[in-house]
Symmetry: C2
Subunit: 363 residues, 2 copies
């Protein structure tokens, strides 16, 4: 009875005969796309997520939708994904949306804002609070469609040659830190600079910089900074929920059969969730190795955090006055953050508190 | 050059001709499966995830892999998913794995253990630390294949007619709470009982029970308990990371083309991530309504949490001595929890602390 009802259901009954229909050729075309990452293969968790994504799309499409993944710079410059996608040089790119704040500060919302929602609530904002739709309305002006592709979780505050005991210690401190974060910390006297990952070690060793932030334990370990800048600070409040982005050429996206749009969306959600899980497992192991190797964990002093928060809010107010796109997304995301904090506090945070207390009691 | 390399790549070149090959008929067969949930449609976030999952599979398979979703009891009894899948009455089910601890306590690991890893690290355990593979080794003995399908996040501790000020207040307290949690709290003098959701309100009103736990604000709100049992406790340490499960008949799973196994795995990951995001957004709103309607938030006293933790550990030691399957999974999961707690503490927890402090400072 139930099975008979099922077979007579319009949509499903129709689909059951689809193999014989010419429509399948339309919904299952052979496509060859190129995806370039802004990241090198050495950042294997991030780059690997692009590969997991492409493989998932290939499998779901029965081998018909083929996305070849290229590392940073193989086709277009690492930070030229917007231009690459707009010109059609690549159909899609994996990038950090905040690399493009020079075009409009609203690009930051694809990644995360300093003091923005944590990773879980950032995902809820994207997927269930209309955040990604709103971001895509903004990106339509750049002919781009956006799919979040996982993230790193809360990052570390980076490596410092000397301890930071008070806000005054930031004055004149030369730090490798970019984007919005650098602009905010500059207001506190810090001197931000953008330095390629491979140059961080010699720059710290030579004293060209006094501190450097990168990602988290697993990726940071590869740079080997603990011996020359042993103070490893947390929390990395400027990237509390750093999300990776897939940028897709909007016309390419719109031309896709609906089925392929579903597959891309699903594969990005799937690959993104696996990426975060991989980072969590890897970071925990790397942290232990780093501490065993001499890294000194330090929490940022309260006055540094408070002043950074105030500076961020001042920066957001000024930026909202200048960019209507930024203001729309900022108001929407921060209302969601504030509306959801009480629930975070009594659920996840209370449970985490319990686990941490129990674990300390057990020692 | 790059494009030419791409076209001559073996795997991709082969796939490009797949449309003309008879192999596609094998990898893309028309299948009609039935999925029954253990949950009613009224738990729309959980039930909805099964629908999102089935729709994603339908779309990715171009309408060929059709999974019809049935609510609790429509084909087999709500808590008979194991038997339903084993007998082939349904090909798959959405359930809470811990409903089946009567068969073996190791079934609890599909859901979560009291004081087990939090939601994010539970997912990392499943997906990146070998947890789901280990769980599937156990489930193979029951002819079941398991895919995690999202979760609720940390649940609430439930509704109490009177405040709990000390451990002694649990003695003789009649509470609607089931499974492992009930067995653990029973050791502290609490009297657990299993009551269907629809009977919770009259049971509390009549005084048949003194307290009841259910899920979290969004689902709890529908039961309307705040007027008769206004003290709403947290954290729900017995379900700190409650995961939902897809149980699939192992032979059915093994018979699937590899492509369909990939699609099911991907769709479960995708639908699960959306479910958690939906709960986070919904719970935050429902919590505000509940508090406005008179619910009194209370944190469990320290001695209750400590005694529960000790009772849980004693229970786990005894259960490990009785069930080798339980011991294998328990040792594996708890090592992962303990190994990852330091990373949780300095990353997500430190960032959450900062957000909560900033928000309180702003009030």
């Amino acid at each position: 009875m139930k099975r008979r009802d099922f077979l007579t259901t319009g949509a499903v009954g129709g689909a059951a005969t689809a193999l014989a229909s010419p429509a399948i050729a339309q919904s299952n075309p052979v496509l060859q796309w190129r995806l370039q990452s802004s990241y090198p293969k050495s950042l294997d968790t991030i780059y690997g997520a692009a590969e997991v994504f492409a493989k998932a799309v290939l499998e779901a499409s029965d081998g018909n939708f083929q996305i070849q993944v290229f590392a940073a710079g193989e086709i277009v410059p690492p930070l030229a994904i917007v231009e690459g996608v707009q010109s059609g040089t690549v159909e899609m790119g994996q990038t950090g949306s905040y690399f493009y704040i020079g075009l409009d500060p609203a690009f930051a919302f694809g990644t995360s804002l300093p003091f923005g929602p944590n990773t879980r609530f950032q995902q809820a904002w994207f997927n269930e609070a209309g955040g990604n739709d709103l971001f895509n309305e903004f990106l339509a002006g750049y002919n781009i469609h956006h799919l979040p592709l996982g993230g790193t979780g809360a990052q570390m505050g980076g490596w410092f040659r000397k301890e930071i005991n008070t806000l005054a210690d930031l004055k004149g401190l030369k730090m490798r830190i970019g984007g919005l974060s650098g602009m905010i910390l500059q207001r506190l006297g810090l001197v931000p600079s953008q330095i390629a990952a491979g140059d961080v070690y010699p720059s710290l060793e030579r004293g060209t910089i006094d501190a450097a932030e990168f990602v988290g334990p697993y990726d940071d370990e590869k740079l080997g900074l603990s011996k020359i800048a042993p103070y490893y600070y947390y929390p990395g409040f400027w990237e509390g929920a750093a999300t990776l982005s897939l940028f897709i050429g909007l016309e390419k996206w719109n031309e896709l059969p609906e089925r392929y749009r579903s597959i891309l969306t699903m594969a990005a959600g799937y690959a993104g969730a696996l990426q975060l899980a991989k980072y969590d497992a890897q970071n925990a192991e790397a942290l232990r190795r780093l501490v065993a190797g001499g890294a000194q964990l330090r929490v940022f002093p309260g006055d540094v955090l408070q002043a950074s928060y105030d500076a961020a809010n001042a920066f957001y107010a000024e930026t909202s006055a200048k960019s209507a796109s930024f203001k729309t997304l900022y108001d929407h995301q921060m209302k969601f953050r504030d509306d959801t904090l009480p629930w975070l506090q009594i659920s996840e945070y209370a449970y985490d508190t319990l686990l941490l207390q129990a674990s300390q009691g057990a020692k």
